[in-house]
């Protein structure tokens, strides 16, 4: 295909997408209006299943299949990054020198670490009740762990972060999500259908049927994936060096 033909194809496709987008936008409810056709139906469905946070109900119940795709994408993306960032044949590991940390930085990091970690775990645990959930809490908990790199040094971080365990947790969490979906099939309904467990009392930690379980699986997956991703980047930035003269 010549350059020109390709550009023409791109222009036609782009114009088509733009026309469809404009047509769709013209039909949207007005900004700040009172009519929310989708929102009203989603809230009704989430209340029927005793899930206080409608977003959690959307993510892990009404569109749980969509979330399965999303966590698979995250899993594959992190796997790809780790393969690219691994130690290659012409590289070697240098022992990083312990660096001097300014006292205020050290103090702040060591005070903020437990608070941030607890906040992350709280957000994961209350995903079905309040804003947040597995994804947000997982990222917060995983990045909180890295305050140890600011407050102490890289070796301290490596000690509290056994990468093998996080590898296994990442894979286990993704499979747990799929297995919870299959459990619905075995129970005689549909894949990822929220009919397996009792819906519980509204606005308590155990409410919402399978929503808290799927939420916890996503939290575990995201936290381990972020820790592994940052470990790959940190290894490259701090430890791995190219061989001289190659």
């Amino acid at each position: 295909m010549s350059q020109r033909l390709r550009l023409w194809l791109l222009a036609v496709g782009g114009a088509g997408v733009a026309a469809l987008l404009v047509a769709a936008c013209l039909d949207l409810p007005a900004f700040g209006g009172r009519r929310h056709p989708y929102g009203e139906r989603a809230v009704a469905a989430s209340l029927a299943r005793h899930t206080a946070n409608t977003i959690a109900s959307l993510n892990f119940d009404q569109r749980a299949y969509d979330t399965l795709g999303e966590i698979s994408i995250l899993f594959a993306a992190v796997l790809g990054c780790l393969v690219l960032l691994r130690e290659a044949r012409d590289e070697h590991r240098a022992q990083p020198q312990p660096a001097e940390v300014a006292l205020p930085v050290r103090r702040y990091a060591l005070i903020a670490l437990p608070v941030a970690l607890l906040t992350g775990l709280y957000v994961i645990a209350h995903g079905q009740l309040s804003p947040g959930g597995g994804f947000q809490g997982g990222v917060v908990a995983a990045t909180a762990l890295h305050l140890l790199y600011l407050g102490a040094d890289y070796r301290a971080l490596e000690r509290v972060r056994p990468l093998g365990v996080f590898d296994v947790c990442d894979a286990l969490a993704v499979s747990a999500y799929a297995v919870l979906g299959l459990a619905g099939l075995l129970a005689g309904t549909a894949f990822l259908a929220n009919t397996l467990l009792p819906y519980g009392t509204f606005n308590t930690l155990s409410s919402g049927g399978t929503v808290p379980l799927l939420n916890a699986a996503v939290g575990m997956e995201v936290a381990s994936a972020v820790v592994l991703l940052l470990a790959g980047f940190l290894d490259q930035a701090v430890e791995i060096e190219e061989e001289r003269g190659s």
Partner: protein, 86 residues
């Protein structure tokens, strides 16, 4: 009243996004990006989407700048090692 807050949040987003583009030094750009993440999180919260705001806060203002800073450090270290080898 609510409209005024939305307008202020939008203006803050526009200002910090412009600053992120105008800054040409990658390490500083990462810092501006993290400020942009916080301002965007405020905007989403004002627009009654606290869930998206939390994601933006965690990813946009902590994770992405951290990954950028680490990449910058790796690239600089490599350049320094090559200078020394010469």
């Amino acid at each position: 009243m609510a409209d005024a807050v939305i307008v202020v949040a939008l203006l803050l987003v526009a200002a910090s996004a412009t600053a992120a583009v105008a800054q040409r030094e990658p390490a500083r750009q990462a810092l501006v990006l993290s400020v942009l993440g916080v301002v965007l999180a405020v905007l989403f919260t004002v627009l009654q989407a606290p869930d998206v705001g939390l994601s933006q806060l965690a990813v946009g203002s902590a994770l992405t700048p951290l990954l950028i800073m680490l990449s910058v450090r790796k690239v600089r270290r490599q350049a320094r090692a090559k200078d020394r080898a010469r």
